[in-house]
Amino acid sequence: MVALPLHPTSSQYRCPRCHALLYRRGQPFRYIIVMAVTTLALFVPLTFLPILDLDIMGLKAQSTLFEALWMVYKDGYYLIAFVSMMTGLLIPVIMMVLLLLMLVPLHFGYRPRGVALWFRLYEKMREWGMAEVYLIAVIVAIIKLLGMGTLHIGPGFVLFIFFFLTFYITTVWFNPEDIWYEDAMDY
């Protein structure tokens, strides 16, 4: 254990024994709120825009991220469909919602009773949001499919890249510990 001198500026502290990052102050809440709202806004069209069009010998297929997982579900692989859906798409979205539930009231100067619960859920989900893995998986799948027929990348794919980027920026900017500080309201 070490004593941590708290500076108001964005300093960072490391453990003297293993040099792990102990604490780094996050960005102001209003920036994070804007990023989280952007992430959620990008998610809405993702649910119905196709990620790609595939054309094999005149037969056409279009697929959104959700339709692809729905097929897996219909094949009887419920667990795979469920876990992929949660980790790849829904957990990042739920994390953004929880974050807004915490930060928006704090930003407007009051601390609602649910904050502790939202915080705990957010912390538990942090490990399980895998949007970046899902993004690489989409790219791998596209390369695999290139050999099968004519392929056009749909608008959903571009949106998914932006969705991932804003999600990533939001989680990096937000340091959940900051919500406990007395001056959290000033953010």
Binding site: L54, L69, A116, M130, I136, V140, I143, L145, E177
Partner: protein
């Protein structure tokens, strides 16, 4: 170099692993975020052991059974994880082949090896290796989720390629075994308390707040 820290037992403090509030050792539930507070993660070692062993067992069918079955006019083609890697290497997409090999074969085996090593460090009290072990722990914590890559790829392929009689892709039984193995290694990593590697003696009951039994590092 002189040690610049004191241990949690010496200071009579324990950390809430969720909101990082410091509490005296007698506190059971964090008054700030409401999570239970423990000096060390309870039953960390037995749970990590069992999840590690279970993951090894699941990895066997995951690597032997087909991951994805392609049905087309040319017939059925069932491929294991390794077949997928070889396919890419043969078709001049070495980059993708290496990505899949790393995510689906190298990472799970590396994680399990590291988990074993960490458990041995705690079991035999090799505290000189604790720092190195901690570095490995951070690596497997970081790369853990990437093993899910192949599962997502299979899920996407199955969802997209549905051309009735011409070509259809079906999920193979290995996918479910592989996913369970990956999830288990992730749970094992989360349940392992790396601080145990630095403790001088393994406390028989981490939950009893005995001051003797755990020495000071």
């Amino acid at each position: 170099m002189k040690m610049r820290w004191i241990t949690d037992i010496e200071a009579d403090r324990q950390l809430c692993l969720h909101c990082r509030k410091l509490h005296p050792l007698t506190v059971r539930v964090c008054d700030r975020c409401g999570e239970p507070v423990h000096q060390r993660i309870p039953h960390s070692i037995p749970v990590t052991w069992s999840l590690t062993v279970a993951a090894i067992i699941f990895l066997v069918p995951a690597n032997l059974l087909p991951m994805m079955i392609v049905k087309s006019i040319a017939g059925e083609d069932a491929g294991t994880i390794m077949d997928g890697v070889i396919y890419f290497l043969e078709h001049g997409e070495a980059g993708i082949g290496i990505v899949i090999f790393t995510a689906s074969i190298f990472v799970p085996f590396f994680k399990l090896t590291v988990l074993f090593y960490l458990l041995l460090i705690v079991h035999f009290g090799w505290r000189r290796r604790a720092l190195f072990g901690l570095k490995l722990y951070r690596i497997i914590h970081f790369i853990g989720k990437w093993s899910m890559l192949d599962i997502f790829v299979v899920a996407l392929m199955v969802g997209i390629v549905q051309f009735k009689n011409l070509a259809t892709i079906v999920t193979g039984p290995a996918a479910i075994a592989f996913m369970l193995a990956v999830l288990m290694t992730m749970f094992a990593t989360e349940h392992f308390d790396p601080r145990l590697m630095f403790d001088k003696e393994i406390s028989k009951k981490p939950e009893t707040k005995q001051h003797e039994g755990i020495d000071h590092g």
